[in-house]
Assembly symmetry: C2
Homo-oligomer: 227 residues x 2
């Protein structure tokens, strides 16, 4: 499948690398290719500059947002939540009738740590995206965990869950299949409902952030336990 991954941060890189490793033709989209490639410093989280990562993943193409989406069969939004609507607007010409996997979280760091959500409770980023691009088929997925777990769920010693939400059942089936390629067992993929259910998936983030702080690692996830 031709997949466009929008966003060149650690989430975008991890998904692009993981999907490329599984044989997909992955193109990454960024706002300004020259600027992205020119960065020479590690980011605030200690991640290497994009160009350095890219040197080891030369089969992944880097293009501008508006070049990434038109040729893709499926688009993944892995931009930061605050930049997502603008990034998708830039790539809007290639979104119609496509599955758009939204893994972003609308984290707002402008008021310090811990971040708040820029949208919550009565709306969600995923709903805003679906509303702004009504011909795309938005599926919220993977936003409830660290990037490495997204593409390597077996890092954890027990089974754990990934949640999906969206209004289009066929699109959710496509995402479910893609998740299985990434190592997720079908029974661990939990469909929580329509796109409005993305609110709950995004509003889980404050708890995730507290847990990361307390556990001292992002290498954890949750598992549903049923009677």
């Amino acid at each position: 499948m031709k997949i466009a991954v929008l966003g060149t941060g650690i989430v975008g890189r991890t998904l692009a690398g993981g999907l490329s490793d599984r044989g997909h033709a992955v193109t990454m989209g960024t706002r300004d290719v020259a600027e992205t490639l020119a960065r020479s410093e590690t980011d605030a989280m200690g991640n290497q500059p994009f160009a350095q990562w890219h040197a080891g993943h030369s089969n992944v193409q880097l293009v501008a947002f508006d070049e990434a989406t038109p040729t893709a069969d499926l688009v993944i939004n892995a931009t930061s939540g605050q930049a997502s609507l603008a990034a998708l607007e830039a790539g809007a010409s290639g979104l119609d009738d496509k599955v758009l996997v939204d893994v972003a979280n609308p984290l707002d760091f402008s008021h310090g740590m811990p971040p708040t959500l820029s949208v919550a409770n009565t709306d969600s980023l995923a709903e805003q995206i679906q509303q702004k691009f009504p011909r795309s088929k938005v599926v919220k997925a993977l936003n409830t965990m660290n990037a490495r777990l997204m593409v390597e769920p077996s890092r954890l010693p027990e089974s754990h869950n990934v949640f999906i939400a969206g209004d289009d059942d066929a699109a959710k089936k496509t995402v479910r299949d893609l998740l299985q390629e990434l190592g997720w067992k079908d029974e661990n993929i939990v469909d929580v409902g329509g796109i409005q259910a993305a609110r709950g998936l995004e509003m889980y983030l404050p708890l995730w952030l507290s847990l990361m702080g307390k556990l001292g690692t992002p290498d954890f996830n949750i598992r549903l336990v049923r009677a």
Copy 2:
């Protein structure tokens, strides 16, 4: 221990019954004792009228909010989130220097289903309670699950977690001990931080509600899975 449980709904009843069964002297607080006892119909969830429940739990005393808190060693807020501040205000004379366990969720059903939160993201019900009653020691706990699980965690076949948040470490230790009496293993009680971390615990509710809808039962919880 003398425990005051504020609220006579299913959460208050379940906690009062469970704590009474473990030998605690439990008093339940309500706004209007006569009115609470006079109710003769099942509620919207199909729960029996309070008087009927009370007939089987005669060792639990029912009094007004302002009579429940002064004699208690520990107070539990199990009122509905929208009524919590008024209920605690009514019992304010008995809150100073006491551990106040807040199990309520600020669910707002006024806009239909699913409910939104009346406070979220930049504040929480638990923080509002702590701010309004600064001499109490608020510990958010147990709000992330169905009432029956609170007092009978072994209902589920695998271990799962209860989260606590609060600014007072001694108060959290008291709550941790109480949770162990209710059947929670110490390693399954996760301290997520100060009272501000209650935001994450309350904001988990929309996901919990989606999951309840999808699973068709409230008899589930989550378990942390670590590397």
